[in-house]
């Protein structure tokens, strides 16, 4: 009895073709072997070859022209859809991973913007957990987590202790459902007095504010994570295919 894992044939073909493109054996712009040639070389049926090539096309490795063939597009800008979006990183970041100092953890009256994102009335109470994050002993970011008090009850998010997991875990267990998607808002604004002293910037400085609204599959928002960064020290980067 053998317990070895052998990946599916089509996955092996994907890996081999990716390797050849990456190594320069199939340079950008060059045609790939035709379906029949790949069938012969790898001993697969045509649907199997086509399935592998379809994945490579969806991932941006190749383009296809009916009647002509498939052509190498070059190394995808984003390694297989795994781009590090700012909002997702905020949700899954663990407090132990960064040098941070907890500023607030408790109930406050909800600010207008957060109320709009969470679909709450203007004076509702919300749980706020706010930390100052430092890099190289310099304050570089204020991270705030906002969620309705009903959701926060029973979680450790209102406690002063350090969180052992990312925010997403806590919210998903309290919500009883998986978080499905993020709606990200990016804007620029001037700092408040508190932000001036915390970040050590002038009151006329430009701050980059990122709001990540995490929703379940029905579109209901559960939590908002805010990240405030000095604009002169930070830059958001994102890469994607034009298609």
């Amino acid at each position: 009895m053998s317990f070895e894992y052998t990946p599916p044939k089509y996955a092996q073909l994907i890996a081999e073709l990716e390797r050849r493109i990456d190594s320069g054996e199939y340079p950008p712009g060059s045609p790939l072997p035709s379906e029949h040639q790949l069938m012969a070389e790898f001993g697969m049926a045509r649907p199997t070859v086509v399935k592998a090539l379809g994945v490579l096309r969806d991932q941006g490795w190749i383009v296809t022209h009916q009647g002509k063939g498939r052509f190498v597009r070059g190394r995808p800008a984003i390694p297989t859809g795994q781009q590090a979006r700012a909002g997702r990183e905020l949700l899954d970041r663990k407090e132990a991973q960064v040098s941070s100092r907890l500023l607030v953890s408790g109930e406050v009256e909800v600010p207008n913007r957060i109320a709009a994102y969470l679909g709450l009335k203007p004076t509702s109470p919300v749980m706020l957990r706010r930390s100052l994050i430092e890099h190289d002993n310099e304050p570089t970011e204020i991270s705030s987590t906002w969620l309705p008090v009903e959701v926060a009850q029973g979680t450790a998010l209102g406690e002063p202790g350090e969180l052992k997991q990312g925010i997403r875990r806590y919210v998903e267990s309290a919500a009883g459902t998986a978080l499905d998607h993020i709606i990200e808002h990016v804007t620029a604004r001037n700092p408040s007095k508190e932000e001036c002293s915390l970040l050590g910037v002038k009151s006329s400085a430009a701050l980059l504010a990122v709001y990540a609204v995490a929703c379940d599959a029905t579109g209901r928002p559960w939590v908002v994570v805010e990240s405030v960064l000095p604009g002169d020290r930070h830059e958001l980067e994102d890469a994607y295919l034009i298609r």
Copy 2:
């Protein structure tokens, strides 16, 4: 002879299942009909049904559990991967579509940031095309296009006339290759004196600056499009699945 277009069977199944999910006939969390049931209902072979369901899974409509079935995930946050990224919109926007006033079109010495993005030496000449864009008779955005003079020669990008197509068309014909991907940088900063008067903001205001670097498949940058927006009037929004 008939010239009617009939979409492929699998695409018809995709459309029908999307409709049923959207209408609430298949509510979130509920199981989809099994492959055999769909085969019987729509008169398709199994691979055809599976192909349609695979697309729905990739687009985030459903999740699958081997041995159990496929389950509705809810309406995807992003309609079919067609999210409007800021950078792509800048590249394909046509000047006739927006109310704009051309400020600059000609050669200038390259700024440091643009030189870094384009991989040029600090004092190289570059072509700059800059417009002030208005909405509701109010200036709301300064859009600048930067590209190496060698690329700009022979295109209409240096001419004062209105561009008939999006920037991407001009650059692709001059480059002789297709633009493949965009690397987007977002940052916040204070306005220059010129930007103050053009946008009608104070010198302490916070501006949102978006830089879209368009590259070909080999990763070579061809053009940088910069968009400067007052932070208090604009907000970038983006939605994506958590996975």
